[in-house]
């Protein structure tokens, strides 16, 4: 990374912007105070300005502005047991704009770290957010990555997150992508994980699509090492005229590899559409892959059970849907 990468408290002259983004961060469920807590590693990027990049011992956060967004490199030293989550905050506050984030994660051997990422586009009318992540988790290391989005009601956001995940022997990676507040706009999520021997990966996406949202989820697991284990899970609620397509893929390339694709899509309204495409490929005959998919309206028995406790049908559906996307 170039020398321009700087360790920042807060970018000078950006306090007002930081405050607005912090508020938005809080709206999406984050604890805004942690963004300024020196005990926690954090990275805050507003549009294409790096407002804060704060490292702690064992966790180095580097951020560099680009003309359309930012480049970030996050390095966790081998053996580090990060005391709390690393906080990442990305946002675009104006109505229009492009934010491209190129992020590299290097998790050293035996390290253990979790990330809480929040993406806020509260005023978006025409915003494009691109996240291109390269993630490398070394031998025996563990990484968790939870990303929550907060969108305004207009739905004018294009969210294009891609992740290329490499897991060395015995490494584990668990991700949870949530976009359940506000309107999505367009979401094209594309995660691809490659697992070596004894590695474990869980990809989990939960989306609530409304109005004219277009959702595409593509989660792929390449089980390249013996005894590797993977789960590609997705939960989508498509309301109004939302169209959703989920492709869950697992490739069993090694002996005793196990992969499972699990997709539930609930339609709310006669104009919503959902497609589920499980794609399983067994290359090594000793690998075992399974899938389950359920598409349709909210389960009648669940709704009637809650109605039998005195809830209205709408309340019951709401409880079921919120649980599914939690």
């Amino acid at each position: 990374m170039p020398d321009a990468i700087a360790e920042l408290k807060i970018l000078p002259g950006s306090s007002a912007e930081f405050a607005i983004l912090s508020n938005s961060y809080a709206s999406s469920g984050g604890d805004a105070a942690v963004l300024l807590d020196d005990r926690a590693a954090s990275l805050v990027v507003s549009h294409h300005r790096v407002l804060r990049a704060h490292s702690i011992p064992g966790v180095r956060i580097e951020g560099e502005e680009t003309s359309t967004g930012a480049r970030a490199r996050i390095t966790v030293e081998p053996g580090t047991q990060a005391p709390g989550p690393v906080h990442l905050c990305f946002g675009v506050l104006p109505k229009e704009g492009l934010q491209e984030i190129q992020a590299e994660f290097f998790i050293g051997e035996g390290a253990r770290v979790s990330f809480l990422a929040h993406c806020s586009f509260p005023n978006a009318v025409r915003v494009k957010h691109v996240m291109d992540a390269r993630i490398h988790v070394a031998k025996g290391a563990a990484m968790e990555y939870a990303e929550t989005h907060y969108h305004g009601p207009a739905g004018g956001v294009e969210v294009l997150p891609t992740a290329h995940i490499e897991l060395e022997e015995g490494a584990s990676y668990k991700s949870l992508f949530k976009l359940v507040q506000g309107a999505v706009g367009v979401l094209r999520l594309d995660y691809q994980a490659h697992l070596q021997k004894d590695a474990v990966c869980e990809l989990d996406a939960r989306i609530y699509g409304k109005s004219d949202d277009r959702i595409t989820i593509n989660e792929s697991l390449y089980l390249d090492g013996e005894n590797s284990r993977g789960l590609a899970k997705s939960r989508v609620v498509a309301a109004d005229r939302c169209v959703s397509e989920v492709i869950g893929e697992a490739v069993g390339n090694a002996p005793h590899a196990r992969g499972h694709v699990d997709c539930v899509e609930i339609l709310k309204g006669p104009l919503a559409r959902a497609v589920a495409i499980p794609k399983l490929t067994v290359v090594d005959e000793r690998a075992k892959l399974t899938h389950e998919a359920a598409i349709g309206s909210v389960d009648k028995k669940q709704v009637e059970t809650l109605m039998a406790r005195g809830m209205s049908e709408d309340e019951a559906v709401d409880v079921v849907v919120k649980g599914l996307l939690r």
Binding site: K300, K301, Q302, A308, R309, G310, M311
Partner: protein, 246 residues
């Protein structure tokens, strides 16, 4: 309290329930004893008003009000609820949240949700934060269902085979829970095909071929069930001459 008169349900052109008459009194335990396939769970579904189980004839009156066409929620708000034999599972909903939701419309709350859980033999410390999903065993899920009904404090609870899938050692615990309903003022319509569970009732009815054949003392109904129903070849063909309504 509950008065069912000449109830009829036709599904797929077949009369599944017919000429069914039943009365359940205030705070009584009333067991419905019947072999598999005689219409016990269907009766529970009709009484709760589940979709697809709208009666084609007859009346269901609760506290003097005709509820035959009322939706599930309205029946529940009047104090009727159902514990399913195979209860639904909920992803992302904890046991604690489920019990609190069940208690939301309770008229009185003699037991806290935690106490309800303990009452069904599940430790609140261990189960409160568990999800009501596929990670619970069938027996655990049924106990959680009973706890949620306890939390709701209904006036009439329909228990559809609460003893199903429960190990023999725990049957006593389930019986204790059923008695707790009655002690707290709830009437219980207890659907079972286990004589020993049916025996705890104040009154029993024998259901066969979609109709109530006989109502009376639980011991007498159990004898009737043993002698006429357990090995019978007349499932779905009621013995008309035996019909007697209490």
């Amino acid at each position: 309290m509950l008065e069912v008169t000449d109830l009829q349900l036709i599904l797929g052109g077949k009369p599944v329930l017919h000429d069914l008459n039943l009365r359940v009194h205030e705070a009584e335990i009333h067991s419905i004893l019947g072999a598999n396939g005689t219409g016990k769970s269907t009766l529970a579904a009709v009484l709760m008003g589940l979709s697809g189980y709208q009666p084609t004839g007859g009346r269901i009156v609760f506290d003097g009000e005709d509820i035959t066409r009322l939706p599930i929620s309205e029946r529940a708000r009047r104090g009727i609820t159902l514990a399913w034999q195979e209860p639904a599972r909920f992803e992302g909903l904890t046991v604690g949240e489920y019990l609190r939701l069940s208690q939301r419309n309770a008229k009185s709350q003699p037991l806290s949700p935690e106490e309800c859980l303990a009452k069904v033999g599940l430790s609140p410390e261990k189960y409160w934060k568990r999800a009501v999903d596929a990670t619970l065993s069938g027996g655990e899920r049924r106990r959680v269902e009973l706890a949620s009904v306890l939390a709701m404090q209904p006036r009439l609870v329909i228990l559809d085979e609460p003893d199903s899938g429960i190990d023999a050692l725990s049957i006593g615990n389930i019986v204790d829970v059923i008695r707790t309903f009655a002690r707290n003022g709830s009437a219980v319509l207890l659907i079972t095909h286990h004589e020993e569970v049916a025996a705890i009732a104040d009154r029993s009815s024998s259901l066969c071929g979609g109709t109530i054949l006989k109502t009376g003392d639980p011991a007498a109904i159990a004898r009737f069930f043993r002698n006429h129903c357990q090995e019978c070849q007349h499932v779905n063909v009621p013995i008309r001459e035996e019909v007697h309504y209490a």
